[in-house]
Symmetry: C2
Subunit: 264 residues, 2 copies
């Protein structure tokens, strides 16, 4: 890149002073502005190996316009998502703010490797007991369940495992986003986009949620009618189950096991 | 976690042999199965500092069920997305497959820092000239334009910068996904979900696209009607422009500059 030339264009447009590094001007940061001047809500989002990143990224993109979003795991070492995205946590269980405006858990095959992990369950139970909102997308609601946070609440999950919610004392609801008091859960994967705007509206009002929706140009046009088991039909459902493979059975076994040690 | 107990559950369900590490059984990988047994198309997706990850992650999630997706940047060093997600590329300009089934470029404020970078432009021009499909989401179509790949094609982009496409010889179209011969472009950010399924259907057929749509439970229900400038209205449009701040002007200046050196 002709950094000097590019730097000049941007510096004059942004009116940002250039910091000299030898004779080479530094490129100023190209960033969006804050969307509001009030307090930024503190959001804790759980990262873990094998999560479905899209569960988390829909709401993270919406919320990060106007909230402080922490991507939390046990360590800051990179982890890999289920679709092969290498990710770096921004905080740890130890340094995550104690009192969050929202704790968020997405789903993914990797969750069935941590639902019986006392450290993860303890972290979620603690932050969940103090957070203003306790939230999930996809099978993340089962992980909240394992932490004892869904007992007595209505919730949703990915369609393929919504029937496991009663193991944790929750009542499954077939809806895109379910709000029951301060519990907000979204359906499978892409429901995170709808969920994220619902949560943002709760935290900061509908005006900011609408500005964010337009910024994300969220006016969906799915090319096929195959987004629910009913619309897709039994043949497509069968193929998704085949794609899930042994995981389909593992989900139930892991949930049954973790329900036994669910915190009171 | 009680790894022994968890490992036992999963090992029996997956019938995966456990690899002993001392007395502690290893947790087997919890992964989805391949969605088809044919050749997996090779997809190259550009990563760069300050990209809007959601532009890329919609299609990456859809395509990764059944394609080999390469996340390409100059180096394998971590880069940071515009919403603060730390990401690790899986390949570099040097080792990215030469003949891709699709090259993909998402948008983001960081693109205006690389649109005049000869190394990036050269890489895109080369892979784009050989790829079966040349594709983008959001303002990524402007980056393809800078590489001389959109001259004479219809295309879309994020609504806030679609009017810049003619600088690169492209004809802007107000649509969610625009297909013109082997060029496929999606609108802003969340259009990546619609785009990803369109591209997947082109590469592997509608059946696999529908199975993927159901796996991702893509049956959107936006909570507000604010996904386009028309639906959102002028007040909301004004607020998005304010949020974009100086970037709004930088986009035009950078595009005008890079149009001058666009490869023939």
């Amino acid at each position: 890149m002709n950094r000097r030339q590019f730097g000049g264009v941007v510096a004059s447009a942004l009116a940002v002073p250039m910091i000299a590094s030898g004779n080479e001007p530094q490129q100023p940061e190209l960033k969006f502005q804050p969307m509001h001047s009030g307090r930024r809500p503190e959001i804790g989002m759980l990262l873990y190996p094998g999560l479905t990143l899209l569960d988390l990224l829909g709401p993270q993109t919406a919320l990060s316009t106007s909230c402080n979003v922490h991507l939390i795991w046990k360590t800051r070492d990179f982890i890999e998502s289920d679709t092969g995205i290498g990710l770096r946590p921004t905080g740890t269980f130890a340094d995550c703010p104690k009192d969050l405006d929202a704790i968020f858990v997405g789903g993914g095959p990797g969750q069935f490797g941590i639902m019986n992990d006392p450290e993860t369950v303890r972290f979620l139970a603690d932050r969940g007991s103090r957070a203003k909102y306790v939230t999930s997308v996809c099978s993340g609601s089962l992980l909240l369940g394992a932490a004892g946070l869904m007992r007595g609440y209505k919730a949703t999950s990915h369609w393929a495992c919504r029937d496991l919610l009663p193991l944790f004392g929750a009542t499954p609801v077939d809806a895109r986003v379910v709000v029951d008091r301060n519990r907000i859960s979204g359906g499978g994967v892409t429901a995170g986009l709808d969920f994220g705007l619902v949560l943002l509206a709760k935290l900061l009002g509908e005006d900011i949620a609408k500005v964010t929706q337009l910024a994300m140009e969220y006016d969906p046009e799915p090319p096929f009618h195959a987004g629910t088991p009913k619309e897709a039909g039994p043949e497509v459902v069968k193929k998704v189950r085949e794609w899930m493979g042994p995981l389909d059975g593992v989900m139930r076994q892991v949930c049954e096991q973790s329900a036994k040690s669910m915190p009171r």
